[in-house]
């Protein structure tokens, strides 16, 4: 692709680099763009990336590994989209992913990005682990394989392979069973949802994944899908329809909220616990779902819910989006967004940071350890908090 063919050629120069994109909604600091918060160099700001993209594509600067790192440090969190007041704001992240696409096409990629793409193509997951291990998390849980149940539970790659994220999908599985939700899983047939692949700029692989998944869902007569990950939720909800994949898709917190509000679960009253909630970007800013997780947390007996200073569409990203939960370009510093986020929760005297995304779970839990706060604050998925509070938890559903 040449500069002439760049889809956003007519708008990319419109970024003034005024810096609105660095702020949360209430203007309290300039650290709401994760890469800028981490490195505090203008190159890592949203405007810096756009100016560099334009300069690279019109050949004023050359490709370097550092340029690639700058472009891939964007977590696609959409804070810039929310904050930029100008008419082209809707396309800011699209411009970055389009530039990444050019890097993919020319083969000029950071090693970690290459590895993620290769692994996903070969194994259907970014970790490069065997497909046959995809349903190991469900061993002994008597979770049914999908076969015309009401819902397909789409586990996603993190829930399937990451040992910490597995705990959240296991909790979710138990809750759904306890509430007698009709659901099944695809097990080793499940494949990557493609969201991160799209964000990394590999549109060809993304399309292949989407088409394969749609074919698989149609073959199994899937109509309704529950996702553990907001990333999968985003992909299936927003991208699959363009390829003929029309499914009713729910993030699991929407289902748990309904279970709770319908009175299908009994809760025990436990000791008071002070919980804050971290909005995942792909549930919040990308899909405007801020209330379902909060409704759940606020209605669990004993929970004292407290908002962090930056919440809802001002939430600071954990730093894991756009493939960064594997590449970890933003890690290794007290300024890493995940560590900043943990400190923001600690400032509110929260005992628990509740999350509703397996990537946020992994990123923030690692950050708690790096901050040496293991004894002061914990990171828990809403599914785990929900399960803990269930009256049945002391009896059958925790088996």
């Amino acid at each position: 692709m040449s500069w002439e063919d760049f889809k956003y050629k007519e708008i990319i120069h419109r970024c003034f680099r005024c810096g609105y994109c660095k702020f949360p909604v209430n203007w309290m600091d300039v650290n709401n763009c994760p890469p800028y918060a981490r490195f505090r160099m203008e190159t890592y700001s949203c405007g810096g990336r756009l100016w560099l993209t334009r300069a690279w594509l019109d050949e004023r600067i050359e490709w370097t590994e550092h340029l690639a790192e700058i472009l891939y440090s964007c977590t696609t969190c959409k804070n810039c989209v929310v904050k930029c007041p100008l008419g082209f704001n809707i396309d800011i992240v699209n411009m970055i992913t389009a530039a990444r696409s050019e890097m993919v096409e020319s083969g000029k990629l950071p090693t970690d990005v290459k590895k993620i793409l290769e692994n996903t193509e070969l194994y259907g997951n970014p970790y490069g682990l065997s497909r046959s291990k995809r349903d190991n998390w469900a061993m002994g849980m008597e979770i049914e394989t999908y076969s015309d149940q009401e819902y397909l539970l789409f586990v996603g790659c993190a829930g399937s392979y990451d040992t910490r994220a597995m705990q959240s999908i296991q909790a979710l599985g138990r809750i759904l069973k306890n509430a007698e939700v009709s659901f099944g899983i695809l097990g080793s047939k499940e494949n990557c949802d493609g969201n991160e692949i799209k964000m990394l700029g590999e549109s060809g692989l993304f399309e292949m994944l989407v088409q394969n998944n749609i074919a698989l869902f149609i073959k199994h007569k899937v109509r309704k899908i529950i996702t553990l990950s907001p990333h999968a939720y985003n992909a299936i909800k927003n991208y699959y329809p363009a390829y003929g994949g029309e499914f009713q898709v729910f993030h699991y917190t929407q289902i748990l909220r309904d279970i709770m509000m319908d009175g299908r679960s009994d809760f025990v009253h436990k000791d008071k616990i002070r919980i804050t909630y971290h909005d995942p970007c792909f549930l919040g800013r990308w899909n405007d779902e801020y209330d379902a997780p909060r409704t759940i947390l606020k209605n669990i007996p004993g929970v004292q819910f407290v908002e962090m200073e930056k919440n809802r569409n001002s939430a600071l990203c954990c730093g894991g989006g756009g493939g960064n939960f594997i590449m970890d370009i933003l890690g290794g510093s007290k300024d890493s967004p995940a560590r900043r986020r943990v400190r923001e929760a600690f400032d509110k005297k929260a005992n628990v940071i509740a999350v509703s995304c397996p990537k946020c779970l992994i990123m923030l839990e690692d950050a708690v350890k790096e901050e040496d706060m293991d004894n002061m604050i914990s990171v828990r998925d809403i599914s785990e908090i929900f399960l803990d509070a269930l009256e049945c938890n002391t009896r059958t559903c925790n088996k």
């Binding site: 708008i11 120069h13 419109r14 970024c15 003034f16 680099r17 005024c18 810096g19 609105y20 660095k22 702020f23 209430n26 203007w27 309290m28 600091d29 300039v30 490195f39 505090r40 160099m41 203008e42 190159t43 810096g48 100016w51 560099l52 300069a55 004023r60 600067i61 050359e62 370097t64 550092h66 340029l67 700058i70 007041p85 100008l86 008419g87 082209f88 510093s333």
Partner: protein, 452 residues
């Protein structure tokens, strides 16, 4: 390895020092029309002590230093004219102290307008600072060292008049403090010690301000904006005189612009009013809009467009996107208010000559003592001819400011040159000597304020 690079890494750390092409590219640009110039290094220090060490290194190596806040002056003041080290100061962003009784805030040089506004609204809602119309990312110190003005300029003057003290790293690396803090008496006043005000308006050529105490003012719970409009620009100075006489307003801004076309030629005057109660608001509105401006309405010379409650702080500007080109720059002139109609007419002529929709704005400073009159020129960043047109218009406007008896605010290189040509010989000599005395090796932002 490059020895200067290695020394900078030793002083700061590897992640906040760069000599890579990407950083050198981004930091070579101003956001206005100034030609880019590549720095050799970009450094983002975290402490005053690091700045001292960098300055000493620069003296040893005889390499320029260019201090940078948010880079939003739009006049090219932080473009490294002769290369060297760009010192990005935004990491030094602590709000160190707010004294509610003495009404001041002590801040580091990288604190942004948005950050302080949000901090005060949350923690000290009865206090406010004079916030300029710049984007919220603009740094407070950056605005003050260029003699910026804010939305309290009408009652209180330039933002650089509203300081209680400062800490500066001199071009030779020593730390100096000015104001009561110099005698370890806190940061509550700039006076009455001998005046050594050498750091405002100098475009970073005399030192690097690292801390500053700025004055805060009562933030009334009810704030809003009234808009009055006239079609005869020659009435504006008289109206401003009457409004400032009431001593009941905060910000007063007169503006006119080509877009939307139906309003071209009209002069809008926005008047900020603050009050503690509905009764006070009603009283002020009556005095300002009925008693003071009513006569113009009765004579059919003006109209009241209404009063909107609430102030947008920080202000959101979309000026850069007027031409969907991502660029604008303005010349600000500190002008006598009586020149308003000439500023408007001649500014409009310049814009039309360069095929740029005109936008002119005058913010009143003090009780009508002066106004900052801005002539704004939008351009398309992707079109070199459009950039040239804007640059030509800006230079013509620099000349216009001086012709009309004003002084160019935050002049770029061209503006500095025409000011120096007109400088009183004694002043010119003193400025030359001050620079030489403070910066014997000429390392501080060279290219600016030169040729005395």
């Amino acid at each position: 390895m490059d020895s200067i690079y290695k020394s900078l890494v030793d002083i700061v750390d590897k992640e906040h020092v760069s000599n890579r092409p990407e950083e050198l590219f981004i930091y070579s640009f101003d956001l206005g029309t100034a030609e880019p110039r590549r720095p050799d290094y970009v450094v983002s220090p975290a402490t005053t002590e690091q700045i001292q060490e960098i300055v000493r290194l620069a003296n040893r190596e005889n390499i320029p230093i260019v201090p940078l806040g948010a880079g939003l002056s739009l006049a090219g003041l932080a473009v490294p004219q002769k290369g060297g080290i760009i010192l990005d100061l935004k990491r030094m962003d602590r709000i160190i102290e707010v004294n509610e009784n003495a009404r001041y805030a002590l801040i580091e040089c990288g604190v942004s307008q948005g950050q302080l506004t949000a901090y005060l609204e949350k923690n000290f809602p009865r206090l406010t600072h004079s916030e300029p119309g710049a984007p919220p990312a603009a740094t407070i110190v950056g605005n003050i060292v260029i003699h910026g003005q804010g939305d309290l300029a009408q009652p209180y003057g330039f933002n650089s008049d509203l300081i209680n003290g400062l800490e500066v790293v001199l071009p030779t690396g020593e730390i100096c403090r000015f104001g009561s803090c110099a005698v370890d008496a806190g940061w509550f006043t700039y006076h009455p010690l001998p005046d050594v005000g050498l750091f405002f308006g100098w475009c970073g050529t005399t030192g690097i301000v690292t801390k500053m105490s700025i004055r805060l003012f009562p933030a009334k719970p009810i704030r809003g904006v009234g808009t009055f409009v006239v079609d005869n620009e020659s009435l504006v100075p008289e109206i401003i005189g009457k409004l400032t006489y009431t001593q009941m307003t905060e910000d007063i801004i007169a503006f006119s612009r080509a877009i939307p076309p139906f309003a071209a030629g009209l002069q809008h005057i926005t008047i900020n009013i603050a009050a503690d109660s509905e009764k006070e608001l009603e009283f002020k509105q009556e005095i300002i809009f009925d008693d003071t401006l009513g006569e113009y309405i009765r004579r059919g010379e003006g109209g009241f467009l209404g009063f909107t409650r609430g102030l947008e702080r920080p202000q959101i500007s979309k000026t850069s996107d007027y031409k969907k080109g991502g660029g604008f720059e303005y010349v600000g002139g500190i002008m006598p208010v009586e020149t308003y109609s000439q500023c408007y007419r001649k500014g409009r002529e310049i814009s039309e000559r360069h095929s740029i929709p005109y936008t002119v704005t005058g913010r009143i400073i003090g009780a009508g003592h002066s106004m900052m009159f801005a002539w704004t020129y939008a351009f398309n960043r992707a079109d070199t001819e459009s950039i040239k047109q804007a640059r030509d218009a800006l230079h013509e406007t620099d000349d216009l400011v001086m012709e009309l008896g004003g002084v160019i605010w935050k002049p770029g290189i061209y503006g500095q040159k025409i000011i120096i040509e007109r400088l009183d010989p004694g002043t010119r000599l003193l400025m030359k000597q001050v620079r030489k005395l403070l910066d014997p090796n000429g390392i501080m932002n060279p290219g600016n304020w030169e040729g005395f």
